[in-house]
Amino acid sequence: MNRLLLASTFAATFALPALAAPFTCPSRGGDIVFGQEANVNSLDQMTSSTISTRNIAMNMYESLMTRDENNRPILELAESMEEAPDGLRYTFRLRQGVTFHNGKPLTSADVAASFNRYNRIGLQRSTLDNVAGWDTPDPRTFVIRMKQVQPTFIEALSSFSVPIVVIPSEHENDDRQQLRAVGTGPFRLLEFVPGSHARLGRYDGYSPNTAFEQRTGFGGYRVACVDTVTFRIVTEASARVAGLETGALQAVEDVPTRSLETLRRNSAITILPLQNWWIQIALPNTAHGPTANLAFRRAVQAALGMEDIMDAATDGNYRLNVGFQYPNQPSYTDAGRETYNINDPARARTLLRESGYRNEPIIILTNRDYPPMYNAALVMQQQMRAVGINANLRVVDWPTSVQMSQRVNSDEWHIFHSGWGTQPALGALATMQFLVAPGANYRPRDDKDDPDVLAAWNRMNNEREPAARQAAFADMQRLVLERAYAYPFGALTKVQAVRSNVQGYVPFRIPRFSNVWITR
């Protein structure tokens, strides 16, 4: 068998030389109240794809595998994973000494029950489409049998989008969104009042993953230093800032730019930018109208100046970024960079003439629920008008814009504004699924993929060697950008802030409260 000692490999990668010993809390105790911007409806991670659910639940639940600081797969509840030479079997050996919040020791039966529930109602249960079944030869061993070789299976299994969190076997039949909140994570649920708050307490029976010495990404060596963490829903940005200033909140997400100046002057507050929160993006409707014409789409591409668009979209909190991954990610590529930030009106006009465009109204579909999308659309409209395109905004709310954008062969819109957050963070494979059927975001006619794009996608999925898959991703990105199937504008930075006595807090895809402590 080809033994993949993922845990030790990544532990070695991320162990800091000055911190050879595992992390210990410099101080213990205290309570943190986190001001969260979005409501949480359920803590059932198997059936929710929302960021607000993940924010809380990922401090409570764990999976067989998760992602590290750079979003590479690492082991979490498993101490080892072996892939059979034929690629049709994955054998996980569970860590010893792991217990659920109810005190019950973790066994492979619990993992099997979790997979059963996920396969029944998990929102991303297509992850298991190619899985023939799973076995539990002994209480510490869990085996996944595949129908066919799937080189990207581990990447999918370790996804944090809708993770297969491990729950006690007796909760297997809990209804959708009604999962009893018992996990194996460093924090356990004390109280959950939807619309108000969720309060977590330190789980004293937590067994840190000793394959690591530090927290990394969603996993690693995690320790709960504080007594409780309360996630308080504070949807109004000004109220979040006020709460932080008064000390009612110790940490907040999504600090509005208008408040940054004041907060920076306050020595009791530390501002923490969270770069690469999402890729600000617009996508053409290639099934209908002028945007079905490649020359027209390239004219739009040539007209766009990304600094102005991103500045308006983010109030200055952005980084220019080519393509669909970020430079800190292993799969980043700048393939197709010549299509990015062209900002050449003369070239745009030439391409426009070539396209035969006759001043037809172009509808830019956007929404006000996410102000960056609305602001980006406004600037895009002006830049398109400046080169002679009759661009008009259609502003609806987010659910309506998604519904409209997903209609096959729709003639209601030409360019759709969105933001891709979770998927780019998960990697190239997760991101590029936005660009293939069903529901390819550039809306090809009859939902039929561009065959070249589809071929690159298939290679991304089926090549055995990571390097070959990466090359396929670069090809796919180049094709998508050259054929102007997407206009990625840049990377949005989200600003978080904590009280200065909160130490060890590093912004990530979720607010992580393990290895975070309060100085007295």
């Binding site: 409806n41 109602i121 009604q178 939807p194 619309g195 308080r232 109220a239 609806v396 998604v402 997903q406």
Partner: protein
Amino acid sequence: MFGVLARRLLSALPVLLIVSLISFGLMRLIPGDPAAAIAGIAATPAQIEQLRQDLGLDEPLWMQLVHYYEGLARGDLGRSLLLGKGVFAATMERLPVTIALSLYALVFTLIIGIASGIIAALKQNTWIDQAAMMFAMIGISVPNFFLGLLMIILFAVHLGWLPSGGYVPFSESPVGWLRSMTMPAFSLALLQAGLLARITRSSMLEVLRQDYIRTAKAKGLPQRRVILKHALANALIPIVTVVGIIVSLLLSGAVVTEALFSIPGMGQLLTQAVLNRDYPMVQGGLLLVTTFLVLVNITVDTLYAVLDPRVRHE
């Protein structure tokens, strides 16, 4: 009296039927995909499609309507798409919070509104009258959202007297409840207090000109007794009418206040339900809120009879 009550209760049934039909129809008229809303911005098209199937959103409209009324006939308001739990249970968790907030705000409204209205009427055309009416105008004009923000800055950030937001259940800590609800209740009350002050003033002015008030004064009754027993008692009918309206305004105004102060009430629940196209929650929630308002109106009607013997005899 009981006959009046029974008739009013029966006449409420068509109101509830119409509200249920309107809420069902309006929700279906609003464009937008519940699955896209509930799945959130992080969802992929495949996840949204999966959710759509899981929630059974592909049923024809007429079948959804039949199922809705079948459920209502059984006393089942349905299951929230967003929360995954029964609409009645979800509403019962939140409605008491909103009712408590509204009643607390009503206390502020009554104290401020009636007191300033009476004083303004008694001191008609003096600076006190003008100051009271200016205060009423400010109360009516300033949006409670803006007032709430100003109060947070003053009382939470600068003075540190009250929490900037959050909710403490009364059962957990009565003092904590008072501290967490005072700012929201006051900001909610001020608008309605302005309205009530103006109504009270005009009603009192009308009554104060009546012969029986002059007679009471001529008899040498103390000023307090003339005002509280003879004048205010007779001015109460229009005031009670307005208070009934104010209760419904407070309930609807709570939507914004709850969002600002992070209070888990009915307003937040329904706002989220509308934004996320949670059809059963909106339909059931509106029906329950309407029932509550109908009961408030019946109470007001009953109070007329208590306050005014002529209504009883009619």
